[in-house]
Subunit: 199 residues, 2 copies
Amino acid sequence: MDISTLTEAVMGRLFVELEASGRHVHVTKEQAQTLFGHGLTPKRPLSQPGQFLANERLTIAGPKGEFQNVAVLGPERPAAQVEISLTDGRHLGIEAPVRPSGDVSNTPGITLKTDRAVLTVPNGVMAAQRHIHMHPDDAARLGIRDKQLVRLQTYTARPVIFEDLLVRISPDFATRVHLDFDEANACGFQNGDLGRILP
Amino acid sequence: MDISTLTEAVMGRLFVELEASGRHVHVTKEQAQTLFGHGLTPKRPLSQPGQFLANERLTIAGPKGEFQNVAVLGPERPAAQVEISLTDGRHLGIEAPVRPSGDVSNTPGITLKTDRAVLTVPNGVMAAQRHIHMHPDDAARLGIRDKQLVRLQTYTARPVIFEDLLVRISPDFATRVHLDFDEANACGFQNGDLGRILP
C-alpha cells in the first residue's frame, strides 16, 4: 500500500464527508403525473445510490412567500415531502417542524406549482433532522447502531459540534453527513469539508 | 436569600442568555442624513446599554436580490456596516466574509436605498463572527479575558456546541451571546434559550 492510499484509508476511518442539502421536494408518482405530465426523469445521480436530481423543477408557495425553481429528487416516494430550512420557513410563512425524513405525520402542507398544475399537499413540510447515512461496514467499524444519535465535530471555517445527529444504516447508503443550509452556513461549510464522529 | 433568588443566582453563574441578530445596518451620521434627512431616532433599546433599534428602516440591494424594510441600529458609527447571514448573502449575490464586528477592511460593498436616496457603500458587508458581549464581573468570575475564543453548549431544540466564540469584555456590555440567524436556526433557538460556556 503506497502512502497516498494509506493516507486515504486512515482519513476514511477517521472522517466522514459532509453534504449540504438545499431545499427540495419529493413527490409521488401521481403527483409527478399531475405536475409534469410524466414521471420524474434523472438529470444527475446523488451521492446516495439510486437517488437522483430530476430534470423537473417546481415552485413551492406558502402564505407569506414562495421559492421558484426548486429541486425535485427522485425516484418518486409513497408521500410528498418538502424539505426546507427554518430560514426558508420564515420566508414562506410556514413553521416547519424538525423531523426525521419520511415522518410526515402532523406536518404542515404547502402548494406546489408548475406551468401545468397547482397542487396543494395537506402535509409533508419539514426541516429534515440532521442525519448521517451510513453503510453497515462503517457502522460496524465505528460501533454505531441504526437510529443512534451521535455528536459530530465539523472541520469547517466556523467549527461546530452538532449534537443529536441521527444515524441511519443501510447497505444502500454511502456514508455521508447531511446538513441543511442553516446548519451548513452556521458551520461555514464548503464542498469537500469533513466531520468526525465523537466518541 | 429565598429559593427563587438563589436559583436565579446559580442559573446566572452557569448560563448565558442567547440572542439571535437578524440582518441589520449601521450607518454614519452623514449617511443617516443622506438616507433619512436626519439622524437616527430610537424606537426601542437593545440589550446592550446605549444601543437602539431605530425607527428608520431601509432596503439593502446586491447584484442578485434585495431585502426591504431592514433594521437600522443606532447610535451612528464611524463606518457603515451591514450584517447579514451567509444565507442572506446567497440571496443578495454577495459573498460575505465572517468578521468580528467593526472590522470592515476588505469587505464587499452594497447599495442602501430609501425613498430619499440611493447610496452605494464601498465596503462593510459581513457575517458577524459569533460573539459574546460580557460584563467584566462575569469575565472575572469565569476567568475569561478580552478577545478569548470559547466554546458554548446551547440548551436549544437542536443542541450544538459552537466553537470559536469571540468574547468581548466591556463595562458597557450586558452579558449575552449573539448568533446570526443561520446559527440560531441551526440550533433551533427560541427566545429565552440559554447556553453554557464550556471549560
